[in-house]
Amino acid sequence: MKIVVQMTLNGLRIDVDEGMTILEAARFYGMNIPTLCYLEGLSPYGACRLCLVEIGMPGQSKLVTSCTYRVEEGLVVRTDSEWVIKRRKMLIELYLATCPSSKVIQDLASKYHVTTVRFTPWHEDCILCGLCVRMCAEQMQGKAIGFAHRGSNRRVTTPFDKESEVCRLCGGCMYVCPACQSRCQGPQEEQPVCNACLNLQQPCLDYFEDKMCFMDPCVACELDANREVKAKRRP
């Protein structure tokens, strides 16, 4: 028999099966948490940090990675509080500087209204999310690629940087890679941030500490935009 725990997700009381992670629970209830290193069917890794959520009551809250944190009885989770959004935007900015050629990251930047990059772009072609490594090991039973070296030299490679004997050329690693898909203008674009799909300003953030903007797209934004239009029309 499944044990059900009760928790609060963005102010909503919900019942969740024990053993689920916060990310799984949030996605089950239709609240989107952005991720780069998470994929259903692969073990959670907690490397990209984008799935940060705030847990606990205000004043004693802390940030945890929702993909690795299991639900508990009475847990209070806020997926889009001011603090979380601030950290998430910072992460996206860092990712933009690391790998500006990725469409997935550019899309995230537009969605989260990250318009400037204050860091020197590195133009790496890998963000070390480890999806390809886990795909190869867990789904394909291949173990053809993995991490090598450490610290700033850490990278994904085959043994001895040579063609692997166990690789079956399945292409699973490229299929899951968030950095492989080139941005719309092509990988050689000089500007580190694209912003062609820039999201509307998320107005809730300025008004409430607990942002409840899990509607995707956020209806409040449209309401707010209408209000502004009306205000302008007034003489």
Binding site: A148, H149, S164, E165
Partner: protein
């Protein structure tokens, strides 16, 4: 060649018997025998134990004390951790350069000495510290480094 191969087999056999499937002790054992980790030996180790080659490669490249390239007879590891750095670890490296003409990561042309920096030797109380051929030296100054290295050189000549 065949004798060499059986040698390798023996080393691997002994290592596996001793350490089971623990990658790092296995690699340390192999490095002790060959002074570095030859690619072919690691491939044999993978075939013998069933440990995926990438896991072995991961460990071999992760640790500074494991090397995939041939090493010199005398291994000098100078600590470049925070404490050693503050207490003059850089001066030790400079002294070694004056004596042997090698920078971190380099080998002397006669293949006798190799210098490397490590991130921490775990003995910050003795900073600045260095390890020569597995022996720890602490509270060093450049003069003591000169003495240690000259003693080793004399040993090599005699």
């Amino acid at each position: 060649m065949s004798k060499q191969l059986t040698d390798v087999e023996d080393v691997l056999e002994g290592a596996v018997k001793k350490h089971g499937l623990s990658v790092v002790p296995l690699l340390q054992e192999i490095q002790e025998h060959f002074r570095y980790l030859p690619e072919e030996v690691l491939r044999m180790l993978s075939r013998k134990t069933g440990i995926p080659l990438i896991d072995i490669y991961h460990a071999a490249t992760f640790y500074n004390s494991l090397s995939l390239t041939p090493r010199a007879r005398h291994q000098i590891s100078v600590c470049a951790g925070t404490t050693c750095h503050i207490r003059g670890g850089g001066k030790l490296i400079e002294e070694i350069f004056q004596l042997l003409g090698i920078r971190p990561g380099e080998i002397t042309s006669d293949g006798e000495f190799m210098l490397e920096t490590v991130n921490c030797l775990g003995c910050c109380a003795f900073a600045p510290a260095m390890v020569v051929d597995g022996k720890y030296y602490g509270n060093l100054n450049p003069g003591e480094v000169r003495e240690i290295l000259n003693a080793l050189r004399k040993k090599a000549v005699s």
